[in-house]
């Protein structure tokens, strides 16, 4: 069951919104463990281009994913101003590099509009809906799809 399905039964929910380039995205706040600043990572050999490397988070080794590259935008050039969203996807912990975290949204499910049928790779893989907040468009991301080599991909 995806978190979307889980939360649909509950009505209201909180989402954390972040910015990459000129686009805004959001993920469920429940899967976010913490937000921290960018520090240099250890590159991984033979990793997909969107995996920047691994980072030590209090003794755990977690992969850092360049969300910009992952979502098909241009690869990020991380600076100290970038932030890492540490999120839990299933039983794994992963860091998502984004440009900035903008705010936390409390919304009801009826605010989530279905993604327009555009048959793009992005829409099918990551987008789970779009939100209209104060004239901004925010895309709701399915975190499980973001993770590299998730079970669905490996099978």
């Amino acid at each position: 069951m995806t978190y979307l399905a889980q939360n649909l039964t509950h009505g209201g929910r909180e989402l954390i919104a972040f910015r990459i380039g000129d686009q805004e995205f959001c993920v469920n706040v429940m899967s976010v463990r913490e937000i921290r600043g960018w520090t240099p990572v250890t590159p991984m050999p033979h990793a997909p281009s969107y995996v920047l490397g691994v980072l030590n988070l209090r003794g755990a080794v977690l992969p850092i994913i360049d969300m910009s590259a992952r979502l098909g935008l241009k690869p990020a050039e991380p600076t100290v101003r970038h932030v890492i969203i540490v999120a839990q996807v299933k039983n794994r912990i992963v860091g998502l590099l984004v440009e900035a975290v903008s705010d936390i949204l409390t919304i009801n499910d009826e605010h989530i509009q279905p993604t327009p049928d555009m048959s793009s790779e992005f829409e099918r893989t990551f987008a789970r809906g779009i939100l209209a907040i104060e004239g901004r468009m925010i895309c709701l991301i399915e975190l499980e799809a973001v993770f590299p080599h998730s079970e669905s991909e490996a099978a």
Partner: protein, 765 residues
């Protein structure tokens, strides 16, 4: 503590008992005839039965009961534990394990199988009549028959137990009644019952025991209160009273003992038959709380009976019995009894001393059960401590260049202490590989049954210790390999005989420590690898080209390729072609290596080398293309600074380095890991000479060596995925993650096998 927790403890104990049972049976199978082994086996089944009864696990109880009954026949020397008998018993142990698992986890067992075994066990218990069992000459036979029969009465916790194959009880008593009219009056026994404090702490109650005893016959009790201290010295929980009981009963001594069955360990119990001077001394020995050692009774009770028969010939007759026993078929069992009988001559004191010694030696070192989570937590914490200590050392060195000596000394001591703590903590989790090996014994039996081959599993070094995390992951690949060895490795008995080998195949499983790793070898004495067939198959599967020139070793190693299986037909056991590559991958995932060597006609040997722990590693910290990597120290043979003259180009891209006149391929780690696109200049770097599991040495080129350090292994798979060429990650003193190089995979990548290919394989798997 609620019922479920108690039940959980019971199941944990069951596991231990089952292990004990199996190892005991295997010892018997190897020809061990020590009565203590039989007793241990019996005790295991008995304990399971007892516990199962308490939880109302009827299936388990009824099976255990039949099993126990048959074991009792072995114990009382009525049944010779030959290969046939042990085969049934080993199968029964498997079923017992299954039943235990089902009782714990639910599910169902193969009813037909357990019913069949129950029938076989019953047949064994009943089918061997007493006279044939004791082939010893006359003097031994008559007295033996009598105590042997009632033994089950003593053992059976439930009275209903008696109806299984123990009808000879009445018979032998009549026999004796006829032979010896002077004991036609009810035999009288003197019983001395001295409870220890433990008896009461374990919830036993002397009153109840005495009441049970009174049901056996006419009884008079004298309570001895002389040990009772004055009130100020009295320990309210200690045992001070003891009882002297005279009992007239026709139920026999064993029935008396059965009353005390569950208290036996926690009291001093002496049961002696009244009449005959030597008798008391004679009877002293068996009265010692030797756990369940009722077989000892058999021999000793010869003596009292002998006495009543012909008192003046007592000694002579026993000597005769002993001598006869020694020449009898079951020399070993009898010898054990005879030894006890002889020992009893030395008098009560000596006997007691001997028994105390026995007890002391049989008592296991005290242990505690600890939740594995707690140990894991401790290990993790110590891992953090090691990292922290490294960070501290590093920052002190950085900030205090001139190095105040007291700080440095303190840091050094801290480092040593940390290391010691880590070693000790790791030792907590270290376990012998025995349980895994025992499981393999079962696998061998089952597969031998299915394939119709006759197989003997020989194990060595079961007590070799390795971290529990490694043990847990060992069972699966080992099972695969054992299946392969029996199914593919060993030939059918006919073929073996034709090849001049014994019909029974041997699979040997050994474990040993070697240079900081555990090496597990699995060898069979089968036909070895059919290289022609393997080669052909590889060609058919497009793994190699038809004109490829492969060494024998390379051909052998082809079997580790995915989708490779040479079995002509796919069997249920192995031969799906997912066998050996899965094995190899799971061994590699453990940081291990696997290798095969095979001699046609003589069998194959698989050698696995695994790290002792998955928690720490001694590594050399090196720099490659600006990245810090850790190379496991165990892999490194030597390090050297290459000179330009020693580097030779070989073909278009290969380079060799000459080391003492032998040439060794140079492997640029930075290239292999895609850290740089051009080859580094070897003269500017350092070469690490490594020995890989595939045999052969490689010189790994790195840019610089930073130092040597113990690192804590952090899994990459936990949050990411397996990365080819990388074994794991660690955290260095500066808090950065460093990758630990997987030397074997880098070396095999340098052989032409692309890491990318492996990467796609890993992703697909």
């Amino acid at each position: 503590m609620d019922m479920n927790e108690i039940k959980e403890i019971f199941f944990q104990e069951c596991e231990e008992q089952l292990a004990e049972l199996e190892s005991g049976l295997l010892r018997l199978n190897d020809g061990d005839r020590d009565p203590e082994t039989v007793n241990a086996v019996f005790r295991a089944v008995h304990s399971i039965k007892g516990g199962a009864g308490a939880f109302g696990l009827d299936d388990l109880v009824s099976f255990a009961h039949v099993f126990e009954t048959t074991l009792d026949c072995v114990r009382s020397n009525k049944l010779e534990p030959n290969q046939e008998v042990l085969k049934v018993m080993l199968k029964s142990a498997d079923v017992l394990a299954d039943l235990t698992n089902v009782a714990r986890d639910g599910g169902s067992v193969d009813q037909a199988r357990s019913k069949q075994l129950i029938r076989e066990l019953e047949a064994l218990a009943n089918g061997t009549p007493l006279p044939t069992a004791s082939a010893a000459p006359a003097p031994a036979v008559a007295p033996k028959a009598k105590p042997a029969a009632p033994a089950p009465v003593a053992e059976a916790a439930a009275p209903a137990a008696n109806d299984q194959g123990f009808t000879p009880v009445a018979f032998s008593f009549d026999d004796f009644g006829g032979d010896e009219p002077e004991v036609s009056e009810l035999p009288a026994y003197d019983i001395i019952f001295k409870p220890k404090s433990d008896l009461y702490t374990k919830g036993n109650e002397a009153t109840l025991l005495l009441r049970d005893l009174s049901r056996l016959g006419e009884m008079s009790i004298h309570c001895d209160m002389s040990d009772l201290p004055s009130l100020d010295q009295l320990d309210p929980e200690a045992a001070y009273f003891w009882w002297k009981i005279s009992l007239k009963t026709d139920k026999g001594e064993d029935a008396i003992r059965s009353v005390f069955e569950f208290a036996e360990w926690d009291c001093d119990l002496e049961v002696s038959k009244v009449g005959g001077e030597g008798v008391v001394a004679e009877s002293d020995l068996p009265m010692q709380p030797v756990p369940f050692d009722l077989s000892a009774l058999d021999a000793e009770s010869d003596a009292p009976l002998g006495v009543t028969e012909e008192e003046e010939n007592l000694v002579a007759q026993r000597d005769e019995a002993i001598a006869a026993a020694e020449t009898a078929n079951n020399v070993v069992q009898m010898a054990g009894n005879a030894a006890r009988a002889a020992a009893s001559d030395k008098g009560a004191a000596a006997a007691a001393a001997q028994n105390n010694a026995q007890q002391a030696s049989s008592a296991a070192a005290p242990t505690i059960r600890v939740d594995l989570d707690r140990v894991d937590r401790l290990i993790n914490l110590v891992g953090e401590l090691v990292i922290n200590q490294a960070m501290l050392s590093q920052s002190v060195i950085e900030n205090d260049a001139n190095g105040t000596s007291s700080i440095n000394m303190g840091l050094e001591e801290l480092q040593q202490l940390t290391r010691e703590i880590q070693d000790s903590v790791m030792a907590i989790r270290a376990q012998p590989v025995k349980p895994v090996f025992q499981r393999m014994a079962r696998t061998v039996r089952e597969i031998a049954d299915i394939t119709g081959k006759s197989v003997r599993l020989v194990t060595e070094g079961e007590n070799t210790e390795v971290d529990k995390t490694v043990i847990d992951k060992l069972a699966e690949p080992l099972t695969h390999m054992i299946r392969n060895a029996v199914d593919h490795g060993l030939e059918t008995p006919e073929k073996r005989l034709a090849a001049g080998k014994s019909a029974e195949g041997t699979v040997k499983l050994t474990a040993k420590h070697r240079s900081g790793r555990i090496v597990i070898e699995l060898s069979d004495d089968g036909a070895g690898i059919n290289r022609e067939k393997v080669r052909q198959k590889a060609i058919d599967n497009d793994l190699i080209t038809a004109d490829a020139n492969l060494s024998d070793e390379e051909i052998d190693n082809l079997i580790f390729h995915a989708g490779f299986s040479t079995a002509d037909k796919v069997s249920d056991l192995s031969g799906r072609g997912v066998g050996m590559d899965v094995v190899k991958r799971s061994i590699q995932a453990l940081g291990g290596r696997i290798n095969i060597s095979s001699k046609p006609g003589h069998g194959s040997t698989f050698t696995m080398s695994l790290p002792l722990t998955l928690a720490v590693l001694d590594g050399m910290v090196v720099t490659v293309a600006g990245q810090t990597l850790v190379v496991p120290l165990t892999a490194i043979v030597e390090t050297l600074q290459p000179e330009a003259a020693a580097i030779h180009s070989f073909g278009a891209t290969q380079r060799l380095i000459s080391i003492r006149n032998s040439f060794c391929p140079l492997v640029d780690v930075g290239r292999i890991l895609n850290f740089r696109s051009t080859q580094a200049n070897p003269v500017e770097g350092v070469a690490l000479l490594v020995e890989s599991e595939g045999g052969g040495q490689r010189a790994l080129m790195v840019d610089a060596i930073q130092g040597q350090r113990q690192v804590v292994i952090k899994s990459l798979e936990a949050n990411y995925t397996h990365v080819p060429g990388i074994a794991a990650a660690t955290i260095l003193g500066d808090g950065r993650v460093a990758l630990i190089l997987d030397v074997d995979s880098v070396v095999s990548a340098s052989r032409g096998q692309s890491l990318q290919l492996e990467a796609s394989l890993a992703a697909a798997g």
